[in-house]
Amino acid sequence: MIKFVSKPKTSSYDAVIVGGGHNGLVCAAYLAKAGKKVLVVEKRPLVGGAAVSEQIAPGFIFSTFSYVVSLFRPHIIRQLNLVKHGLQIIPMETTYNPIPGDKGLVRWADAGRTRHEIARFSQKDASLYSEFGLAMGRLSRFTKNIIDTTAPQPASLNPKELFKLLKMGKIFKNFDGNMRYLNVKLMTMSAIDFLQEWFESEPLLPSMAGSGIIGTFMGIRSPGTAYVLLHHYMGEIDGAYRAWGFSIGGTGQISLACAKSALSFGAEIITDAAVDHIDIKNGRARGIVLENGDDIKAGTVISCLDPNRTFLKMVGEHELSENFITQIKRYKNRGSSGKVNLALSRLPNFRDGRPGQHHLKGDITIAPTIDYVERAYDEAKYGEYSKRPFLNIVIPSLSDPSVAPPGKHVLSAFVQYAPYNIKEGADKWPDKREAFGNAVIDTIEEYCPDIRSCIIHKQIISPWDIEKMTGLTEGNIFQGELSLEQLAFLRPVAEWSRYRTPISKLWMCGSGTHPGGGLMGAPGELAAKTMLTEGGV
């Protein structure tokens, strides 16, 4: 276990990183590795931002917010020696869609077995499923190219940028006609419309479409959601394009591994140290001022916070142009999800007649019908949390017994929709929290009638709580929606997608920058590498 202090060793650094989220830690590690004197400043007692493991009840360790890992870049794992620093990931092999009074649908790692499962609902879907996976796999390679480099700049005439576009064009060119059309459809259609071009049956359709809406304030019928489906085919664990995984010890262990790596390269990390503002003079960042009044000088200040918090709170509107401020204010955070974490005395009974626990080891999606998921969104549109939400449940203790006492379990339910701006006003969330939690447990109870008798402890997290605890504006888990108009060269705003900001010597490295949110590490890495090559630090 590493113990962090809250006082820096000196008062001046090459770079100070505001916020110890996993991207800030990755950025720190790369800069320190390059010989820079780096300080990471985190307001909470533990590092990781939204990727933290916390003991909520004795013996029960929760991945409080972010709960699975898929896209963490394999080359970052290698370059920062994260395995040596404790990173361990177990692949999740199943996706289970329970249906009350039925066996439900399980998609297994085994293609044949999955085909048989889907065939119970549709022979056609069963025969197309692996073909769809292959098509998505091919398309995701186009996208993978984008997430592993800085955002392409289509308006730039810089030869380097043109070359990058050319390279992407080449991949696109190598697609046959059908793949090109498919790519365009993927970029423009709704998740469900896109999937319905392939499949016909429930619960396959809503369960697959569900992955298109995670973290967005959109419904499965909203155009643009199809693109997010692709993320599920980009997941790379162990070098292979594949599904999702659990971090042993919770997602906080990934952050800790990044922190240990950063420390090993000589970076400094302080916790319990909230930043009051970024010190700016004549349009240039000079350091930070902590809430306790301490002044820390820095050659470069790097913000791992979201764009809204960075510019509107840490920098201040008076330092920025009206146009930039307007764009930042337009940037959509719109928190749409919450989390219910349960400590369980035993494994709940799904009453599905399935033997063993294997089918519960991956994720469990509550999305029985298309209308169910769309209805959940309907409520959110008018400022209410879904009474019957889309749930993505995991029970990591089935794969990683270290997170719960023997025989006991932790259940984490990602809940959508829970709009930050409820109609009563976001600050009324504390009054609604219990009822929101109950709606989630009621929903689970329809599948596991004994769930209530298993609960030892519960933690209900609304988007308002996410904002209070982590600082993520409106509790948006991605530091801003991953909708197409907020991605790549438009993230967070046009002209400022390369980690720079209008303030000289102030850079960004969080999920609010390209390539966006999720436990990837890519923004932190690309920000550090850009700064190092462009003299930013």
Binding site: V83, Q88, N174, D238, I248, P406
Partner: protein, 396 residues
């Protein structure tokens, strides 16, 4: 036709995949599920239970037991006290390895030996004029390997006696559900783990009791495919894969010596005579022809090999054991990799290899053959010690 182990009734019940193989004449589960990943992760993060009954098992009793074993084993068995287990190998007169296994000392005139191959004749032949009885107990006893970081907790619940303080390579007589068992803190996964010996008649009762105790610890039955990955991570050699018993080699050059297999630490040369001693002394003095090493693939290069074919990198789905050539930087073949695997826990592509002495030093870059899209390619590998994974908990 293989025979069934005393645990078969249970293992066959769990073996959904029907994926069996013949291991030394027994049915053995390759993987219980269609792939072995869950079982591998159970070994590394919880615990896996494996039927290792097919190991050949011998009981050596009588006043000259120690004498016999000291004569056969390259290791000095005199050093093995009651309640201890030791890993050792044994050789022919030319110092060429015949097999490797464990020797457990139940008392000064009572030992148990495990081996990969039948060695009754070899032991018997060397026991002439000694007051010793050698009995093949392979079909009398079943062995369960309980391996993984939670194996201690599980066994503490399941078995009587002080399991918690049972040291690395120590043994204890115990009971599980009132059946007599011998528990050794040994295994082939390179992790914390135990092996449980019981009489055939008690096998199912013991199996059920261990599984029941493991319920709260995510214990699952695990098979040979998962074990193979684990043993490569641990750098454990396998007879018939990484080396061949001298008895089975048609040509001399295929034979190996303990020094060539990185087992020099298990050879005690300066003591009373033992089989192969002179040859091994000579080798120690003059040097060995081969060295047994670990190889770590250069991942970026590996990825590039596949990217050249517009393919994502393909890691082997299972541990492989089809030897492939290893070259120096000038393209001259200087050895062979005998087995390898993708290590999910280390996130590395690994191989175990025999390389000709004098052609490399530790840390050097060599090249290994990789097939991508049916074409032979060379991938750079770094030479290292053949022990990739060695957690503290294994010995603590």
């Amino acid at each position: 036709m293989p025979i069934k182990s005393p645990f078969h009734q249970r293992t066959s019940q769990f073996c959904q995949s029907m994926n069996w193989k013949d291991w030394a004449g027994y049915y053995a589960v390759v993987s219980y599920d269609t792939n072995h990943e869950q079982e591998y992760f159970a070994y590394r993060h919880a615990a896996g239970l494996m039927d290792v009954t097919p190991l050949f098992k011998y009981e050596v009793t009588g006043p000259d037991s120690l004498h016999l074993l000291s004569r056969i084993m390259a290791k000095d068995i005199n050093k093995v006290k009651q309640g201890q287990v030791t890993y050792c190998c044994w050789c022919d007169d030319d110092g060429k390895i015949l097999d490797d296994g464990t020797v457990s000392c139940l008392s000064q005139d009572h030992y148990r030996v495990t081996s990969a191959e039948p060695v009754f004749h070899w032991f018997h032949q060397n026991a002439r004029s000694l007051k010793v009885t050698i009995e093949d107990i392979t079909s009398r006893f079943g062995i369960l390997a309980l391996q993984g970081p939670l194996s201690r907790e599980i066994l503490t619940h399941a078995a009587g006696g002080d399991i918690a303080s049972l040291g690395f390579f120590k043994l204890i007589d115990s009971t599980i559900d009132n059946r007599r068992v011998t528990i050794t803190r040994t295994g082939y996964t390179g992790d914390l783990g135990y092996e449980i010996w019981c009489e055939n008649n008690d096998a199912l009762v013991v199996y059920d009791a261990v599984m029941e105790s493991g319920k709260n610890y995510q214990l699952i039955p695990a098979g040979l495919a998962a074990l193979d990955v684990a043993r490569i991570e641990a750098g454990f050699i396998m007879n018939g894969v990484d080396y061949f018993s001298a008895n089975h080699c048609v040509i001399n050059s295929r034979k190996s010596t303990p020094f060539e297999l990185n087992l020099g630490w298990s050879v005690n040369l300066n003591r009373d005579s033992f089989i192969g001693q002179q040859a091994l002394k000579k080798e120690k003095k003059e040097g060995s022809l081969w060295q047994f090493v670990g190889l770590e693939y250069d991942w970026d290069a590996y990825e590039k090999i596949f990217a050249n074919f517009d393919l994502p990198p393909q890691t082997p789905a299972q541990a492989w054991r089809t030897a492939v050539p290893v070259y120096n930087k000038n393209g001259k073949q200087i050895g062979r990799a005998t087995s390898g695997a993708w290590s999910p826990i280390l996130k590395k592509n690994l191989a175990l290899a025999s390389i000709k002495t004098g052609n490399f030093t530790m840390g050097d870059t060599l090249h290994i053959e990789v097939t991508a899209e049916y074409e032979r390619q060379l991938c750079p590998v770094t030479v290292c010690k053949p022990m990739f994974f060695n957690p503290d908990r294994k010995r603590d």
